[in-house]
């Protein structure tokens, strides 16, 4: 019942944030989400979020994690996790600056041990990419007026919302004591809704508005493996190797363009180009793989490094052409965690888990012959429950994306990620003496 109420709470908040995403003037996230399928989202575990990595080699029995399907084979508790994030993007280019803050859902997961520490199942939902931008430009155009041709100023506003999401169900299996594998098929679905508005500085010309709405869906397959190497350098240390791979998929894409006609106080919708005109098209969502190595120096301290690769150069647009702005993406990260809580010492600061990390992302975009790179620093704390099975993770992040050179936009990213992790022993027959 407790699970149910919390899941319900999470879904309500998720629904609210999704509803906000449907509004045409939604707050903007990264300006660069205008291009391609949006900005890739790599946060799949609350632990990894504090260490600037995905976390494919950082298993944690007390927390559900989407980072690596192989983890689910080590599941001991029935766990649930839900995450939200608050991000502020301060964007600057050669013409001005802007600031925008968004609150969004990042993930939800429920993990069930079928055979404890042997076979586990997981269902989850998370974002692959995020689209949320507002672009505004002032321009002029020569148009016919009553007496002649005149230069008419106009304002063009483009706002986009959406992203690619994934509902995933899978299992993890321990093959040997130190070797785990996992498989997670998923339904990828998403939407890119771009609203275009034109306002002319002339009473002769009415406002024009149209919305391009593209739906995506596909089945995807993700594989994971984890190898535990205990006592590598000394007793009670452990080296963990983890890797995941997601096969490239052809997203089935359908597009329609509608227009909103404003007449007095009423707005009427017009189906300009229905989906049947475009037909069903394939958009390639690229292959991606993440390889990580984590060293547990002790049960309290670990350091993890990771490389994340996405083959965005293979992405083709809705029109069937390779997007000239896309390139392969490589992100490398290094993070560490210090689990003071497990030492069992009294005091507030001794009851927390500390994390920090940094990552460099060479970006999946090349605009004006410039890679859109991201440098990200994170720091976070975990607040475990008294039993240690549940926790709240609060992670802060600061990053810099892009550059002002070559007429581009530099973004400073301030973020807070909040994750609720609940775990308990379920389906355990209690014995009363």
């Amino acid at each position: 019942m407790k699970y149910f109420s919390i899941i319900l709470c999470a879904l309500v908040v998720f629904a609210a944030t999704e509803a906000q995403a449907q509004e045409n003037e939604a707050n903007s996230a990264s300006i660069y989400s205008y291009l391609g399928l949006g900005t890739p989202q790599d946060i799949l575990s609350s632990q990894g979020a504090g260490m600037a990595i995905v976390g494919v080699a950082t298993p944690d029995r007390s927390r559900a994690s989407l980072a690596n399907p192989a983890f689910w084979g080590s599941a001991y508790f029935t766990s649930m996790s839900a995450g939200f994030n608050l991000q502020t993007h301060d964007a600057t280019d050669n013409f001005g600056s802007s600031s925008s803050t968004t609150l969004g859902f990042s993930h939800f997961q429920a993990q069930f041990p079928v055979i404890r520490d042997r076979l586990g199942l997981s269902i989850g939902m998370y974002q692959d990419t995020n689209i949320r931008y507002n672009l505004l430009t002032n321009d002029s155009v020569t148009l016919p007026t009553a007496d002649s041709l005149s230069v008419i100023d106009y304002q063009s506003a483009i706002s986009g919302t959406g992203g690619i999401n994934r509902i995933e169900a899978g299992f993890g299996l321990r093959i040997t004591d130190n070797f785990y594998v996992g498989y997670a098929p998923s339904l990828m679905f998403g939407l890119k809704e771009q609203d275009n508005q034109f306002l002319f500085n002339s009473p002769l010309y009415g406002p024009a508005r149209f919305t391009e709405r593209t739906r995506y869906r596909a089945f995807a397959h993700r594989f994971g493996t984890m190898i535990l190497l205990p006592n590598v350098f000394r007793g009670r240390d452990q080296l963990i190797f983890g890797a995941t791979a997601t096969l490239p998929v052809e997203l089935s894409a359908n597009r329609r363009i509608t227009s909103q006609l404003i007449s007095g106080n009423t707005t009427r919708s017009l189906d300009l180009i229905p989906e049947s005109t475009y037909g069903n098209r394939d958009v390639t969502f690229p292959f991606e793989t993440t390889v990580g190595l984590t060293y547990f120096a002790s049960r309290y301290f670990m350091v993890a490094t990771e490389a994340h690769y996405q083959q965005w150069s293979e992405h083709n647009s809705f029109n069937g052409e390779f997007d000239e702005n896309m390139k392969d993406r490589l992100k490398v990260g290094l993070g560490l965690e210090y689990d003071v809580y497990s030492r069992g010492n009294p005091g507030l600061f001794n009851s927390l888990i500390y994390r920090a990390g940094a990552s460099y992302d060479d970006g999946h975009l090349t605009v004006n012959n410039t890679n859109i790179e991201t440098l990200l620093f994170t720091a976070g704390i975990g607040i475990p429950s008294r039993t240690g099975t549940s926790s709240i993770d609060i992670n802060l992040e600061y990053g810099i994306r892009g550059t002002q050179s070559n007429d581009l936009v530099r973004e400073r990213i301030f973020g807070v990620r909040l994750s609720l992790n609940l775990s308990e022993l379920m389906f355990l027959q209690r014995r009363v003496n």
């Binding site: 407790k2 391009e212 363009i257």
Partner: protein
């Protein structure tokens, strides 16, 4: 423990929400991402799907009525006969006709179409059948007494005409006028009025005003326009000037009704006079030799010559476009308009009227209001009409009309031609200018 964790989580979430809601979003960066050619496209489309179609509308009880005959080199021979029905309404209920009272038909010309130096001569005939002014249209023909009761001459200098009606008719009319029980119905059943028939050698069509209530500079009300005018005999009880005054010599000759300043000059000083409104007016139009072979588009405001303009939105691929402005441009054909003999004149209304008519409405007399009334523009001799909303209504399925029926102005009883440049007129040919945004950028 769950309570503490969950409580902390919810508090944190609310905090994030508050921070988020306090933020502003004013993204003005990233303009370089937006393609500079945002596909704002201006299409100048020639309208070639144009035909002239004849429709019918009512001509009764309009603001004016027309009578005359004119040989127009574009419109052919245009001949119009007016029909006037007497009434009994006066300004004052106390007005009465004395025995021997004279009745005059007052006609006030308003405009002239044709040879403005010629004299229009009309024969006045009794109408011999009952008719309803409200039902009359351009094709109406009412039987008349072949014997004329007199003639009226009008020139461009004529301000008004008083024609004395036969005394026998005046005496009959007096009987109805003074009747206390159901006088209007008895008048309608027995006195059918007069037809103003142009003689064949006329070369001008005159538009006449119907009556209207006016006030002079002293604030006194009076009727002007075409009407009946009663002059009681000398020595009648009420010997003052009555409610209003006419002007004229009472012999069917033209004379001025005013002194040039808008004040009335009493044509019958010392006599008790008053105006009686006509119960209705109407006119018909007969045209012959209408085989115009020019490339122009001759229109009439009487629905006899409508320009049927088909926008062909579907064929032009405009249904899936985001239209910011759509404008139809029609131009006067200056060459055809100015190609008139010296002193000949075609009046014009200074506007066009755009109608949308379904099949049923076209089968009967057109009684609709226009959807657009573009004014004539002096600068380029054009008529421009913004049809953006009209096209958008078609796009959204709120309208199925893509066709306009265009007349040369308000059907007000005058004959007001307009000659527009046709599809072969180069820059002055009919155009549809669309400013749109191509959504497939």
């Amino acid at each position: 423990m769950y309570t503490r964790i969950t409580g902390l989580f919810v508090v944190s979430l609310i905090t994030l929400g508050i921070i988020s809601s306090c933020s502003d979003d004013n993204n003005i960066v990233g303009s370089t991402f937006i393609p500079s050619d945002r596909n704002i496209i201006v299409d100048t489309l020639d309208i070639t799907n144009l035909t002239i179609e004849e429709l019918v509308t009512f001509t009764g009880n309009l603001t004016y009525f027309s009578a005359g005959k004119y040989q127009d080199q574009v419109y052919g021979e245009v001949k119009s006969t007016s029909f006037l029905a007497p009434g009994i309404s006066t300004l004052s209920p106390a007005d009465s006709m004395e025995a021997g009272a004279e009745v005059y038909l007052v006609l006030e010309p308003f405009n002239f179409y044709g040879d403005t130096t010629s004299t229009a001569v009309f024969d006045l005939h009794y109408i011999t059948e009952r008719w309803r002014p409200n039902d009359a249209n351009v094709n109406s023909q009412f039987s008349t007494d072949p014997v004329s009761i007199g003639s009226i001459e009008i020139t461009a200098e004529t301000d008004s005409v008083l024609f004395q009606l036969p005394q026998q008719w005046a005496d009959n009319f007096r009987g109805f006028f003074n009747e206390t029980e159901n006088p209007i119905e008895n008048l309608r059943a027995n006195e059918f009025g007069f037809a103003l028939v142009p003689r064949d050698d006329n070369n001008v069509i005159v538009g006449f005003r119907t009556e209207s209530l006016q006030q002079d500079t002293l604030g006194n009300s009076f009727y002007s326009g075409s009407r009946l005018f009663v002059v009681n005999p000398e020595g009648s009880d009420d010997d003052d000037n009555g409610d209003d005054n006419g002007n004229g010599n009472g012999n069917g000759e033209s004379s001025t009704m005013d002194n040039g300043n808008g004040d009335f000059v009493d044509p019958f000083p010392g006599r008790n006079t008053f105006s009686v409104l006509l119960r209705g007016s109407a006119f018909n139009i007969q045209r012959e030799n209408t085989d115009y072979e020019g490339t122009s588009l001759p229109l009439l405001n009487t629905f006899e010559q409508n320009l049927v303009l088909e926008m062909d939105l579907e064929g032009r691929g405009l249904l899936d476009q985001v239209i910011s402005r759509a404008e139809i441009l029609l131009f006067d054909d200056l060459e055809a308009i100015e190609d008139l003999p010296e002193n000949h004149f075609r009046p014009k209304s200074g506007r066009l009227q755009y109608y949308t008519l379904n099949d049923t409405e076209r089968q009967f007399e057109v009684v609709k209001l226009p959807v657009f009334e573009p004014q004539f523009r002096e600068g380029d001799n054009s008529y421009r009409v913004n049809v953006t909303s009209f096209i958008q209504n078609f796009q959204t399925g709120q309208s199925t009309q893509t066709r306009f029926y265009i007349t040369s102005g308000n059907n007000n009883g005058l004959i007001l031609p307009a000659i527009l440049a046709g599809p072969e007129s180069g820059e002055r040919s009919p155009k549809l200018i669309i400013t749109r945004i191509n959504p497939e950028n």
